[in-house]
């Protein structure tokens, strides 16, 4: 566990379009400031967009309705992939930290590491050839890609729980399951949530690639912007993905702030 995903900037996944915003991630004030900045960026984008004369193709692609439905597609891919990641990674992390399962830790993390190390484009294309073009293959590829941070943080969070607390719990007659639910998981919540946030941001950025296999999403704006030399479409797509990633990151921070057990 050399690098935990607590303080690593999870926006790296979207770094192609990173706006270079420097946000202090500590305080409550920055949590409030964050959405204001994002809205300002969106406002600036649309103000800039609609004060230009747009070509016909641009007009067609950049209508608010069109943008909105692409955003929804993008969010759909992200949401489904993230839910599947949680359903797989958190129970797996719990399982792998139980003493009888310890010996499987190394092989499983190696496998998961491999999933993340493989290039995302490659994964998406491979799954598309295997499962057919469309959102399903994209979601499967995203899941494989994003399991690692959640799994790693779940395990690290559970490992970081002081063993003497586990012993105290068992010593007072709590069952192993009760100790897990009432002691270990609550104490691991901050790290697990940090992993979830990292995964979310990773998925939002990577879902852009879904367009290559007809899975929809905001990636379409970027590819058509490049292919048809429409810089405004390209810029709009990039900024929207970046804002989406930052918004998801913000949401994650808010949840972490609220869900952090008191007393820690």
């Amino acid at each position: 566990m050399s690098q935990l995903d607590t303080e690593k900037t999870p926006t790296e996944a979207a770094s192609k379009t990173d706006t270079g915003l420097e946000v202090d991630r500590g305080g409550r004030a920055s949590l409030l400031l964050y959405p204001v900045i994002l809205l300002a960026i969106l406002g600036a984008l649309f103000a800039w967009l609609y004060t230009r004369d747009l070509s016909d193709t641009e007009m067609v692609t950049l209508t608010p309705g069109e943008l909105w439905s692409m955003t929804l597609e993008h969010l759909y891919l992200t949401a489904i992939a993230t839910v599947v990641v949680l359903v797989i990674a958190i129970p797996l992390g719990i399982l792998l930290t139980r003493p009888p399962m310890r010996r499987f830790t190394t092989p499983v993390t190696a496998l998961v590491n491999f999933g993340q190390a493989a290039p995302a484009v490659g994964l998406i294309v491979v799954f598309a050839f295997w499962m057919g073009f469309g959102p399903t293959a994209a979601i499967v590829a995203l899941v494989v890609y994003a399991v690692l941070p959640v799994l790693r943080n779940t395990m690290a969070g559970l490992d970081a729980v002081d063993q003497s607390l586990v012993e105290a719990g068992r010593g007072m007659g709590m069952s192993a399951a009760a100790v897990l639910w009432r002691v270990e998981l609550p104490l691991a919540v901050p790290l697990i949530l940090a992993g979830v946030r990292t995964a979310l941001v990773l998925v939002v950025g990577t879902a852009t690639l879904g367009t290559f296999i007809n899975a929809g999403g905001l990636g379409l704006l970027i590819t058509s912007g490049v292919n048809l030399s429409l810089p405004r479409v390209l810029i709009t797509g990039s900024v929207l993905v970046a804002v989406l990633a930052l918004a998801v990151d913000w949401l994650g921070r808010v949840v972490e702030h609220i869900a952090r057990p008191r007393g820690l």
Binding site: E167, A168, G171, M172, G173, A178, P261, R262, G263, L264
Partner: protein, 456 residues
């Protein structure tokens, strides 16, 4: 329940139950030497038994086998006459308090939630749990109103340890197991916690097993002390007095170390010596009345008590003559000792106090009387010849030894191989005892004290 093996020095009713380790062995891995080797140990109801010995000798392992956090490889654990070796471990542990170093409080739960955990598991209703939490906080000298809603990190180390003790006592278990409970606090806090532990035990009289590294702590807190060597081999199982005065072998005397005579000061407690009366007044009385009362009794000081009979101040007659009203503020540096304090602590407190004496307080800080240096010296001299009565608990590592429980009194006697057959019906729990042909320990590992020591 064999009351004859315990030494009730206080009127508290015994709420503890007897524990018996019967031929218990623990091997971690089949090839390694046993961490606990054929240990037979009687822990009498209502007494405090201290496990001491060098690091790695098996103290923690032995203790954790009592609540089955560690399962014995061989042998059985009998609690209050019931073999608990095969019962559900979680149910067993809910009936025992368990305290670990630094308290082991759950950081994400408030003090009240921590203390209420076991009662909640046992299905108590909210109201009853809340009342119990407050009662326990009072017992461990923490003000319920200011502490119940705090989180552990908002407490000092000593306060956390107190809450740990309160949590262990929550469901009023007959047995309390403590593994180096005071190991993580500074010496002054440690001494205070030990004194509190003594007065709590005087009130509750549980069966308590405490693991410690510190022979001074063992001698101070224990009714009985077990000195273990590697493999939990008993070197001596005896009263603290006898451990200090008559170590069974070089191992024990090395372990006890020098200054055994001075340590004896740490053996006698304030409640074991005569406590002198004092003139007491309340803050509402006038200084004149106080002076009159003091002069009538021929005393030089009066003790001002609050409604709960806790000492507020201890002015001299000369001070009273100058005063216009009696003090109502608690004087911060009153020389106060608990009933359970040792003579060593009491002497220490007195030497600092100008009066050459100290105020004695009982449970919940209630004033009991005064002790002075003369009484301490006198009672030390008297104690030298204190008579030993009763018998010591049984303890051995002899693999061949069997124990016999008297059906009527529950009294336990040890039958070593050469005595087998003389017993009146052998104790038999059905557990198969392997015959140890390679037994290297003879009866010389048996540490049955020849005479027995009752705490004076």
């Amino acid at each position: 329940m064999s009351e004859s093996t315990t030494a009730p020095t206080e009127p508290g009713r015994i709420t503890g139950v007897p524990i018996l380790l019967d031929g218990v062995t623990k091997r971690y891995g089949s090839k390694s030497a046993p961490a606990v080797d054929h240990l037979t140990l009687e822990i009498p109801a209502g007494s405090t038994v201290m496990f001491v010995g060098p690091s790695g000798c098996g103290k923690t392992t032995t203790m954790k086998m009592i609540n089955r956090l560690i399962e014995p490889t061989e042998g059985s654990i009998v609690i209050d006459g019931e073999d608990v070796t095969t019962m559900n471990g979680d149910d067993l542990r809910r009936r025992m308090g368990y305290v670990i170093q630094a308290g082991g409080l759950f950081p994400h739960m408030t003090v009240a939630a921590n203390i209420g955990l076991v009662p909640k598991m046992l299905g108590w209703d909210k109201q009853r749990i809340a009342e119990r939490v407050d009662e326990l906080l009072e017992l461990v000298s923490l003000d319920p109103d200011s502490y119940r809603d705090r989180y552990p990190k908002q407490l000092s180390g000593g306060q956390q340890q107190r809450v740990g003790v309160a949590r262990a006592l929550a469901a009023d278990p007959p047995v309390l197991l403590m593994d180096e409970p005071f190991g993580a606090v500074d010496p002054i806090t440690r001494q205070r916690l030990q004194d509190e532990m003594i007065s709590i035990q005087n009130e509750l009289r549980k069966t308590i097993v405490i693991v410690t590294h510190d022979i001074d702590e063992a001698v101070k807190l224990g009714d009985w002390v077990v000195v273990f060597d590697e493999g939990a081999r008993i070197q001596q199982y005896d009263s603290p007095e006898r451990i200090l005065a008559e170590p069974a072998n070089d191992f024990v005397s090395d372990f006890v170390g020098s200054g055994a005579g001075l340590k004896a000061l740490g053996l006698t407690r304030v409640n074991e010596m005569p406590i002198l009366d004092a003139v007491v007044v309340t803050p509402e009385d006038s200084p004149t009345t106080a002076v009159q009362k003091a002069e009538a009794a021929g005393h030089g000081h009066v003790v001002v008590l609050d409604r709960a009979r806790r000492p507020i101040a201890w002015p001299s007659v000369a001070q009273l003559r100058r005063a216009t009203a009696l003090p109502t503020r608690y004087e911060p540096d009153l020389p106060i000792v608990g009933m359970g304090a040792t003579l060593e602590d009491a002497l220490d407190t007195m030497l600092v106090s100008r009066a050459g004496a100290a105020l004695v307080v009982g449970p919940r800080g209630r004033f009991e009387g005064v002790v002075d240096i003369d009484t301490v010296m006198q009672s030390l001299r008297d104690n030298r010849g204190a008579a030993d009565t009763g018998r010591s608990p049984v303890g051995t590592n002899d693999a061949e030894a069997r124990i016999e429980v008297a059906p009527d009194t529950g009294e336990i006697t040890l039958i070593t191989p050469d005595q087998v057959g003389t017993g009146r019906g052998r104790y038999d729990d059905g557990a198969a005892e392997p015959s140890r042909s390679d037994a290297d320990e003879g009866s010389d590992s048996t540490a049955l004290p020849q005479t027995s020591g009752e705490r004076p």
